[in-house]
Amino acid sequence: MSFPVLSIITFTPLVAALIILMLPAQRKNEARAVALAAAIFALILSAWVYFTYDQATAGYQFIEKYDWLPALGISLYFGVDGMSTPLVLLTGVVMFTGVLISWGDDDKHVMAGIQDRPREFFAFLFILAWGVFGVFVSLDLFMLFFFYEIAVFPMYLLIVIWGWAVTREYAAMKLTLYLFFGSVISLVGVLAMYFVQFQNTGVLSFDMLQMESANFSETFQNIWYLPVFLGFAVLGGIWPFHNWSPDGHVAAPTAVSMFHAGVLMKLGAFAALRVGIMLLPDGAKYWQWLIMFFAGVAVVYGAYIAFVQTDFKYMVGFSSVSHMGLVMLGFSTLNREGLLGSGMQMFSHGVMTALFFAVVGMIYDRAHTRQIPELGGMNKVMPFAAVGFIIGGLVSMGMPLFSGFVAEFPIFMGVWKEQWLVAVITSISIVITAAYILLNVRKVFFGKMPEKFEGHITDITVLDKVAITTLCLFMVLIGLYPSFMVPMVESGVENILRLLGGF
């Protein structure tokens, strides 16, 4: 067995969290330093995985398998394919930038970062990261579930303790109940799959690769596809179960919003793809129209709701619903273009929305308001953040030369192939997105700075700039040089298409 890189990536956050918890409570800087060191380590390893993944051979690589509970067929089974490798990288990136953003300084004027109990904050954040990595690399359904739940509960604590005081209790509980309910509903489906596989093949195992050939009957698939797919898709923010997401985003502290929108929602989409579509392909075909409808509504409706928001963070939150709707829309096409676009969109949106939330957080920390009408002229004091946000905005609008285009264009192509009308209707969202991004960029960053802010608002810190640069780098890189990621995702799509039976 080669170097167990995936388990090292996965367990790095856990080890870091435990180390951080053992530090004395007053040692705030040490806690931050350990967090940063672990984040850099995980980022380097995930980049290493990304660049050494052999796209020519494709399939699952870096495989590790350790029996965990043979009596029930549970094993620690790690491996990544073309779909999950970019997401592992994404998690590494968001983890790194999230730590930078939450560093916090002891300057009394700026409330940036986390000053209250940073030890617990980083520990919980890293337990969350542990779960996220775990889901992306798990090839065992039980362990996928295990990690999925681990990624859910720290959210509650992170939001309720460090969140926005006005709505945090409500939002955190709402989010947890939605996600927990969704996940346990999927759990029933997964257990049903597990036992039916045993009936069909005599194999008692949670191994997902084995489950691909479990011969689930068509009726079984049609019954269980919806609970499984939608249960996971709740976390992906699919309409009509998206309601927790903007509230959760807004109430969360900056780094958690970044994690939440950047990575966690992908977790839901990814699990829905891996467990729903890949293991129950016939069900996916049967319910294709419904998922397409839900996703289509999410795309347009999310964009429209984002358009009418006056709270900057709510706007970004609803734009996430809209963009994650695009991911689901791509899934619902079940063809090469759509799935490819979804894979790209998961990465692109993750980076983009992390950047959005980071910038919104920076503004709020300094201006103490997020009401768009009250803001203005931020470009003068924080030009770097403005540039970052504009790049993110261009990605969000799907401008060529940025990653958003590489992601959204194939999705619409795929949808057109399935049902041109849906493509036409959902493409309205691009216009709405362009409208709200441009309007808000003008108002918040340009325009006239209100007098009460003059002299109060300072530029962002060096760490913030590093974070923004890192995130922008990926958006531009993929836009200019799509081959950085497209072939990788394509190799993953091949596998899904094979399961769908050469659709």
Binding site: L69, P70, A71, R117, F145, F146, E149, M173, V188, L191
Partner: protein
């Protein structure tokens, strides 16, 4: 007659008796302020008993000893280990409990009750079973009402006594009818008779209902749960923890042995009834937990709900079902003892049990807060804690046996559970004390509490992460039922 198997089969009981005798002899010589050391003696003695019985008392093939009174198998063995572990943890938690820990007789009563539980787990004869249940219950009645100066404790003891006697009498009536119908009190002979059809199903089911009353009281399933909240609230907190874990598990030990061994061939009729009871138990338990503001009452009602979850495994009536019940109980014992242990440690310093009083706890003692988080997340059913795996296996057993509707009810109930458990954590982590001066109100842990809580936390995490050994033991125990 006195074979080594005989000794091995009752080795834990002999050792518990020995610990009790040493305690009786030593304790009068101690001065007033040393009496709390009886807790060390009890916990240490139980640990030694666990080790010795692990080394020398392992069962092989299931055998009947003591003239068929006792079944010597892995099922009983595993439960005995669990009870002794729970007893040891409770003894540690009792040590610094006011007016309880300084009294040697409290520990003796605990040991006597443990002796009864150990016998409950192994008895294969109705007479033995009844004696075991009484041996368990009577010391617990006394312990629940141990704080004579406290009216609530007296009330708890008395209420527990009355309910206990009533339900046990009904159960005893059921036992006597069994003997009247079948002419035997041996559970395994009874099973054979039922298979051959010597006993009519209708009479058997009637008898079963009577017996269920007694067991239902022990495991506190609805509608026999009324005593639980009042008794838990009034009795000394360590005892409440013991009642909600070991005593409940002992009830389940009897339940699985009785129902899996003796009555499997009437399965569809009683499993449906039990499934409905389980669904009601979960739902009522959870809904009644929602408005609770006292941590002991909250845990009491939630423990009713947990009995409902565990029943799913019984209803499944499969090997996986039995294994899942046992696994669930192992995880639940560690978790709930931890939760009660935290309540004990907290009220020792503050004297308060209200959920509101936990405000600012994470600043008063961050480590204790983390342990509480582990306990409550495990009760919620979140990984990487024991409660998660336990719930998944129980639900798996339900799905496998075709009780998907019951599992869905279980799932809806666990979502309700998320609400009230996390609500407590909100007080611990978010809210602050009225003056925001938490650093002036630390919550220090005494040594026995620290040891007990750390061991239990590690246990909860181990069951939730390295679950293979625990599950394999549960499965080995479950195999003895078929």
């Amino acid at each position: 007659m006195f074979t080594s198997t005989l000794f091995a089969s009752i080795l834990p009981e002999i050792l518990i008796l020995l610990v009790g005798m040493i305690l009786l002899i030593v304790e009068p010589f101690w001065k007033e302020d040393q009496r709390r050391n009886a807790g060390w003696l009890t916990a240490g003695g139980l640990l030694v008993a666990m080790v010795i019985s692990l080394l020398f008392g392992q069962p092989g093939e299931p055998t009947a000893t003591l003239g068929g009174m006792i079944r010597f198998d892995w099922l009983g063995f595993f439960f005995k280990q669990l009870f002794m572990f729970a007893g040891a943890a409770t003894a540690l938690l009792m040590m610094d409990s006011e007016k309880l820990g300084q009294r040697g007789e409290a520990y003796l009563l605990l040991l006597a009750s443990l002796l009864g539980m150990d016998l409950m787990a192994v008895s294969s004869d109705l007479i033995m079973l009844f004696l075991a249940i009484e041996t368990t219950s009577i010391p617990l009645y006394v312990l629940a009402g141990f704080l004579l100066a406290d009216d609530r404790s007296t009330e708890a003891g008395f209420k527990y006594l009355l309910f206990g006697i009533l339900t046990t009498t009904i159960m005893l009536y059921g036992f006597s009818l069994v003997f009247g119908f079948a002419g035997t009190t041996d559970l395994y002979q009874l099973a054979d008779m039922l298979k051959t059809g010597d006993l009519s199903p209708s009479s058997a089911l009637g008898v079963l209902a009577l017996i269920l009353v007694g067991i239902g009281f022990k495991v506190s399933i609805v509608p026999f749960h009324f005593w639980a909240p009042d008794v838990y609230e009034g009795s000394p907190t360590p005892i409440a923890g013991f009642l909600s874990t070991a005593s409940k598990a002992a009830g389940f030990a009897v339940l699985v042995r009785l129902f899996f061994v003796s009555f499997p061939n009437f399965a569809p009729s009683w499993t449906i009834a039990l499934a409905i009871l389980a669904a009601i138990t979960m739902t009522v338990g959870n809904l009644l937990t929602l408005p609770q503001t006292n941590i002991k009452r909250l845990l009491a009602y939630s423990s009713v709900a947990h009995a409902g979850y565990a029943m799913i495994g019984v209803v499944a009536l499969t090997q996986l079902g039995a294994a899942s019940v046992i696994f669930y109980l192992a995880a639940y014992i560690a978790t709930n003892l931890l939760a009660f242990g935290i309540a004990v440690a907290f009220s020792r310093v503050t004297g308060l049990d209200d959920v509101r009083d936990y405000a600012g706890m994470s600043r008063r003692n961050p480590i204790l807060a983390l342990m509480m988080l582990s306990a409550f997340l495990s009760l919620t059913g979140m990984p990487p804690f024991g409660g998660f795996v336990a719930k998944v296996v129980v639900f798996a057993a339900g799905v496998q046996a075709g009780y998907t509707w019951l599992v869905v009810i279980g799932i809806i109930n666990s979502v309700i559970g998320v609400y009230y458990y996390l609500n407590v954590m909100k007080y611990v982590y978010l809210y602050r004390m009225p003056n925001e001066d938490e650093e002036n109100h630390p919550v220090p842990l005494t040594r026995p509490y620290a040891i007990a809580l750390v061991v239990l936390t590690i246990g909860v995490i181990l069951i939730g992460t390295v679950f293979a050994p625990w599950f394999n033991w549960s499965e080995a125990a479950a195999l003895n039922l078929f």
